[in-house]
């Protein structure tokens, strides 16, 4: 319980760091850290397969994507810098409604759940669930990946052969 609570607090702090970091690179590293802590939580809860995926894909691949985007784009123009300074407080404009929403959510969360948590110990192997029960989802995953491939083909053709139509 205590370990888990500490991990959760660490994850929340890492998430906060991600969103408040000034530099994109730092934010990306914080994001990877969040992913890593999530991986540890998953391990401790007994979900190793998902944890491995989270570690390799989210902490690894997505960080690579972000870093390559940063390296391709990262140039802060003077105008951008000025507008950021001007709008320094604009980032707080949505805070009040969010806080109200959070308070409301906390209030209603006190209501009874309506289900008794079963602790059904029906854990089977994730791989067999994946193959036996969620086979249709696997097919869907393949299709999403294919769509992503064509997305890369379409969107990363380089600025030179932007063909208009």
């Amino acid at each position: 319980m205590i370990t888990m609570a500490i991990l959760l607090v660490a994850m929340a702090l890492a998430a906060l760091w991600t969103v408040t970091a000034n530099l994109y690179l730092r934010a990306t590293i914080a994001l990877a850290l969040t992913s890593v802590i999530l991986t540890v939580i998953m391990f401790r809860l007994g979900a190793p397969t998902a944890a491995v995926f989270e570690l390799s894909v989210c902490a690894g691949l997505i960080s690579v994507i972000f870093i390559s985007v940063i390296s391709l784009t990262h140039r802060l123009t003077l105008q951008e810098f000025l507008s950021r300074r001007q709008n320094r407080f604009a980032r707080f404009r949505y805070l009040p409604p969010l806080l109200i929403a959070a308070a409301l959510a906390m209030y209603f969360a006190r209501q009874p759940l309506g289900v008794s948590l079963p602790w059904r110990e029906t854990v089977t192997d994730a791989r067999s669930v994946m193959w036996d029960l969620r086979r249709f989802d696997l097919f869907g995953q393949v299709m999403v990946l294919l769509a992503g491939v064509f997305g890369v083909v379409t969107l990363f053709r380089g600025a030179k052969n932007r063909d208009g139509r």
Binding site: V19, E54, A90, Y94, V123, A147, L155
Partner: protein, 106 residues
């Protein structure tokens, strides 16, 4: 672990909500397309935590793992496409300001 299931439930729910709200906050207030994407990523992290916790609490951890793996794959593909869009924006405007995405209105 000798703790009430309900306590576990609220613990996970609270922290997942915290993570999601910080991501959402970043998503809503930033003026930078990339940062918007990072906010989105944080929100999805919160949801992943929620799913795994739900699987853990209900004893359907295997199902939850299968779901999380699928979600991760979809997440990566969406991030790739979004990154492609952002790079194209940068090619067009030489900037990542969100204000460049406000030409369609009315």
């Amino acid at each position: 672990m000798g703790v009430e299931p309900a306590t576990w439930f609220w613990l996970f729910l609270t922290f997942a909500a915290l993570v999601m709200i910080s991501g959402l906050y970043c998503f809503l207030v930033t003026f930078n397309l990339l940062r918007m994407l990072i906010g989105l990523e944080i929100i999805i992290k919160g949801v992943t935590l929620l799913i795994i916790a739900a699987g853990f609490l209900s004893g359907q951890l295997a199902l939850a793992q299968a779901i999380v793996i699928t979600v991760i794959v979809i997440e990566v593909v969406i991030m790739v496409v979004a990154a492609g869009l952002i790079i194209n924006f940068h090619d067009l405007f030489d900037s990542l300001n969100v204000k460049n995405t406000r030409s369609l209105k009315g």
